[in-house]
């Protein structure tokens, strides 16, 4: 059997199992005939998603903006910091251990502090998603910028290349697989961070909507909001894998499994 056929078979088995599970779920809820159970039938969730599509859309936008804003800002700062670290070892040796210590703070626990500093609007959420994206970005970029082939560096030196040329031609390309590994951790984490931050003192967003529907006891809409947040997370991961494949088609992590490089 060719590998592609084997994977097809694997996917087929899993897919049919998922369809079966959803069917059993649907039939069980219909059969029990409960009025508005906490676990709604899949069809009820779909109906709620369609009927309340405007509510979902208006609340999706803030969450997307918070997650994307922090994702870009956090990774931008992380790459800049990593470049500084790699160029100046003294700075790295002073601040890198500190970054590792700060990373061990359960970041989402500081949401209440961020709200005191930045207010209950967009700023506090973006601050959280920036922090959540910053640390994986920093760790992976530093690792990547250091993973340069020393012979390539020597060759550049022999050719008399300057610092920035070396950076653009050698260091950055060899760091890209690592940077993408960091981005793939940061993207789902920023969606999660945005949703959770919206639980506290927020009036909009998917996270706010989830709490609202929980307190008003509207299970189909609550499950719909969950489906949307899961969908956004998966979509962000998938988009990054696509960009990765376009950006570094030469790298083995893309050619073999499409996954991140091993640690």
């Amino acid at each position: 059997m060719t590998p592609s056929l084997l994977t097809k078979l694997k996917n087929g088995l899993s897919l049919s199992l998922i369809i079966l599970l959803v069917l059993v779920w649907e039939l069980t809820i219909q059969f029990l005939g409960l009025k508005n159970p906490p676990v709604p039938a899949p069809s009820q969730v779909l109906v709620a998603l369609f009927e309340a599509r405007l509510v979902f859309l208006t609340n999706l936008f803030p969450t997307l903006a918070e997650a994307a804003g922090g994702f870009f800002l956090g990774n931008l700062i992380a790459v800049a910091t990593a470049m500084l670290f790699v160029r100046h070892r003294a700075i790295e040796e002073t601040f890198y251990p500190l970054a590792v210590v700060l990373h061990s703070i359960p970041l989402m626990a500081i949401i209440p502090l961020l709200i005191i500093w930045f207010g209950p609007g967009y700023a506090s959420k973006v601050a959280l998603t920036t922090l959540v994206s910053f640390f994986p970005g920093l760790v992976n970029t530093v690792k990547g910028l250091k993973s340069v082939n020393p012979q390539a560096l020597e060759l550049m030196e022999v050719w008399g290349a300057r610092g920035w040329t070396v950076f653009w031609k050698v260091r950055l390309p060899s760091a890209l697989p690592y940077i993408f590994a960091g981005l793939k951790i940061a993207a789902p984490a920023s969606v999660l961070g945005a949703v959770v931050a919206e639980w506290i003192g927020s009036r909009q967003g998917i996270g706010f909507l989830m709490l609202w529907e929980m307190f008003n006891y509207n299970p189909p809409r609550l499950w719909g909001a969950m489906v949307i947040s899961a969908g956004v997370t998966m979509l962000s991961f998938w988009l990054l894998s696509l960009v990765e494949r376009l950006a570094i088609p030469w790298h083995e992590s893309v050619q073999q499994t499409g996954g991140a490089p091993k640690e």
């Binding site: 989402m108 626990a109 929980m214």
Partner: protein, 262 residues
Amino acid sequence: MRKMSSRTWRNLPGWSKVMLSFAILIVLWQLATSLLQIPPYLLPSPAIISRTLVDQRAILLKQLQPTLLEAACGFLLGNTAAALLAMWFVKSATAERALLPLAIALRSIPIVAITPVITLVLGRGYATTIFIVGLVTFFPTLVNTTKGLRSVSKDAEELLSVLAATEGQAFRLLKIPSALPYIFSAMRVTGPGSVLGALVSEWVATDRGLGFLILDSQSRWQISLVWAAIIVATLLAVTAFGLVGLAERRLLSWHESMNGEG
């Protein structure tokens, strides 16, 4: 002189660098708050926070217990369930083919974010928070344990079958030991992750625990208590990470990852 001092700095062991830069941070923080007269609600000084840690230790300890219970129970349940399922995967290729892609798909759900849904189903209380922590631990352990149980060397497997080892013996002597490094690398993530899961799910699902204390003292504007609770929570997460590392060093002293870089 400068070169000299930078060399001494470089020769210091890793942990002392962390302690030193941490100490510098605290001194700067204290100086900044007192010199710039930053109001304590914006940024309490380390002195105020440490006083709060001492004065409010009764509350902090009381609220530490539920969080600790949730994190520990969820961690154990999630890991046990994941390990059992992974062992089933290794025995039955059909089960793996059917369920592993499903598990990988479910893993990308932002788990802590579904706390409101679980609260609706399981009600407010320990059941929900433990379930969330269990889910947080379940998926990484499942994926890594399956990978680890499969990473057995072919030669060792052949040797065991030549020696007529039973299936149980093969598991105990070969498969589990070779899976352990993979399991531990999952636990290094899920150990601190279960503390975070407990904290955040407490916001929605309970009115006790460190997570609740953080939120409650913020709404009462007791900012130094917010800081103290966050520090206790961080210490808990760091302890979880440290315990996993300790267990790893004890159980994996034979493994190359322990001898390689030191």
